[in-house]
Symmetry: C2
Subunit: 557 residues, 2 copies
Amino acid sequence: MPLTDIEIARAAKKRPIQEIGEKAGIGAADLLPYGHDKAKVSQRFIDSVKDRPNGKLILVTAINPTPAGEGKTTTTVGLGDGLNAIGKKAMICIREASLGPNFGMKGGAAGGGYAQIVPMEDMNLHFTGDFHAITSAHSLLAAMIDNHIYWGNELEIDIRRVVWRRVVDMNDRALRQITASLGGVANGFPREAGFDITVASEVMACLCLATDLADLQRRLGDMIVAYRRDRTPIYCRDIKADGAMTVLLKDAMQPNLVQTLENNPAFVHGGPFANIAHGCNSVIATTTALKLADFVVTEAGFGADLGAEKFMNIKCRKAGIAPDCVVLVATVRAMKMNGGVAKADLGAENVEAVKAGCANLGRHIGNVKSFGVPVVVAINHFTGDTEAEVQAVKDYVQTQGSEAIVSKHWADGSKGSEALARRVAEIAEAGTANFAPIYPDDMPLFQKIETIAKRIYHADEVLADKKIRDQLRAWEEQGYGALPICMAKTQYSFSTDPNLRGAPTGHSVPVREVRLSAGAGFVVVICGEIMTMPGLPRVPSAEKIGLNEAGEIEGLF
Amino acid sequence: MPLTDIEIARAAKKRPIQEIGEKAGIGAADLLPYGHDKAKVSQRFIDSVKDRPNGKLILVTAINPTPAGEGKTTTTVGLGDGLNAIGKKAMICIREASLGPNFGMKGGAAGGGYAQIVPMEDMNLHFTGDFHAITSAHSLLAAMIDNHIYWGNELEIDIRRVVWRRVVDMNDRALRQITASLGGVANGFPREAGFDITVASEVMACLCLATDLADLQRRLGDMIVAYRRDRTPIYCRDIKADGAMTVLLKDAMQPNLVQTLENNPAFVHGGPFANIAHGCNSVIATTTALKLADFVVTEAGFGADLGAEKFMNIKCRKAGIAPDCVVLVATVRAMKMNGGVAKADLGAENVEAVKAGCANLGRHIGNVKSFGVPVVVAINHFTGDTEAEVQAVKDYVQTQGSEAIVSKHWADGSKGSEALARRVAEIAEAGTANFAPIYPDDMPLFQKIETIAKRIYHADEVLADKKIRDQLRAWEEQGYGALPICMAKTQYSFSTDPNLRGAPTGHSVPVREVRLSAGAGFVVVICGEIMTMPGLPRVPSAEKIGLNEAGEIEGLF
């Protein structure tokens, strides 16, 4: 029996976090420890390295996710360890895990096998409290809005048009839609309200895009929380909550330093939703890592159509950074599923299905190249993959003018990912990338949506009724026209139909709703149903989670 | 201009927390650091000292609070420093502050002047995340209850009788009463619900009374969350949430070590409401401190009629500990207010008013003595107090067979509290205390309520209608008859009328409602209006809270 992820993580020979900091060039005085294996990096240190040159930036992205699993985080960790193993100074930047969902389905958002970040248990629970701080800041603003209404509503908030919902870091479908302020005069004016999960908060998106605390406060102040009857917006700044929220987020803003199983440094910081937000780790973590390492390996949520697109068009644009190489993760199993094989039949060799499924991969390769960035395919190796199946993927990728490299980091750690690391380093050091977002700031908003739909999703058209087009034009008139677009659609397909695998064409992209995230700084375009508050399954994993007699956590992984 | 509390706190010469741990006999390996000035104590260490003899336990309590302020926490800290200054090994145990209320009124729950615990800012914000963990654990159970109903309601929960409310650590009156699960089939069955502030959660009370994680899980499992149509209870254990909740509370269960301005060790841990719960710091912190120090100084919420009564009848009874001396804090200003002086006129000398107000103090002295514990009055000195006023209090206390000692810890730190410390040490070491709760476990519940009302409040009678008496009898039949009583009434008076100062007699105590906290292990008796979710004031302090250019927090204190 091979060891489980949690067994491997528990057996990790962790080094004191000060030693990991030293490896990254951060002195102990600039680390705020949280236990012996986690630390936050001081703002003083971050400021002190601002003028250093940047290392190379590697984005790890993937094909459209399938139930077979791709292992994007695992590959990110494995590649980081691989780069260190071949003598490069590399750091990893990934997102923090949301606590709530771990009590629905089994958790574990820190890689897998011998490519993991530790302490895995903490990272799936409270970690350094960042998400709790975001929940607090979000909740304070919510309370202050209703309090403002309660005490006379000087700002003339239309209680039907409060757009600031509440949040909790828990899968709690009962709170999706509520009536609040019931019970009489002492409790306020009854109105409809609701809760999202914390990672969906615009506060999270602001924190992940902010360059420092002053920028964070400005973004928080810019957030629109409600409208008047005449439809004019009311900002967080009008409620005077931005200062106190920044105080609550003071520590959450600092990147968290942890380590891989091979004792290499990793920043795990921020975790915005990958649908209604941009789905990347924090800008401050990535830009700081670029000052400390020769190579920074990071990832983005979902497949490349959503994650890489937003990484490039939103995060890189806003942060003034550019990827030097993109690693596109694929698995033989996922190719088979894209080729029509059911999950139960994935065990059997099926070269034809692999070939049939490669179209999805091919389109992602082309898409990434269209940003001017070289791409390498990483075949994240599963033990059941056959030689012939692997070769089929390699052959296909070659026809797309790229190359595929097998990586066995899951089974072998950095020994398994050295080949991938060497090739990625070569490409990034060659400096052939010529990155540019696929639309300019000054393109009209609707045209930006069309550009993404046509160039990335390969759709024929974008469908949006007059109300939506009018709304976009109104925002342009109000000065929001230069914002990038944040697409919220299914992650399972290039189209808006989750069942349409492969590389569909001839489809259209219907826009159901548009929302302005004025603080984060993007226009959210919602295509299809987007769930911002998940529910728990019939038998939540929480039922099996507990401490065993040794005081160890069971059932969480 | 004297320095403000925050200026004094910022100028503190803090020692690394490992050094403070060493002073208390806790090695660095048994401290889990949270930054450089906070740490949690390992369970391994707590277990290792279990067989040591106990130090002396000093309870600091007070007269009924007035708007003049008494300085109970300040005196607790000052006395702890004073005991250390006279060569005794002393530790302080106080409660953690709730985050939410700091954004309504100015915060600062860590003492004042030169008798403070630091880091004060962290302690008023996220601290070590304990309350966030409690909010998470509470929220998980709430989500699992509605999830159980959603997936078929096998336990036959009556959705009108779900007694487990939700919590948030924020003053948010809009959430006091809501309708949840609206929006159709996907969101569940609409029902009335509501939120309390986190400190009112029974999870908080359980954590503060639990002896270890196994005991905590048992208590959590015992909590009643709902009833069936036939009125039979449904427990947290039936929902299978107790294990996962314990995992979420794993770190929160460990006491937090911090330091006073004079670098003496303090545990700041737990913070249950002082009305619907028992209002003391955690049992695990107090019992551990008793193993480490010769003197442990702790406090209880509100005045002695509520705080000391519950400390003795609930906390001491459950934890098997006993106070060796009680310090009753009074101020000349509060005596004057009890004597009928308005807050605006407190500046002028008024010996007659001081004398008139002493009746309140006298009754508390008698009450505390009735538990078999010696009592010293600490006159917490304010700069405007005159000699004649102070002497009036001293003379009065002497007529009550006790003594009053002026303490100037606020202005002078341990130099100001040495006299008090010497006397307290003398009394405690003399071993004259002969503590016993004022009612036995096997007294019927209603008779326990009468005992408190008559012996502590000096009321003539307890008024309760048949429904309430029947409920108490039903609980006795179900096996809850041995539980102690947790009184929830106004803190401003011995009676249930907040305006009745002094030492009223001839009043009656009307019981409005009784609640069973089966996990915490007490019966809550509610007399009058009890607010479990505060609101924000017209101008919340949050509006003025922010970071200044130096990155320091302004407006929080």
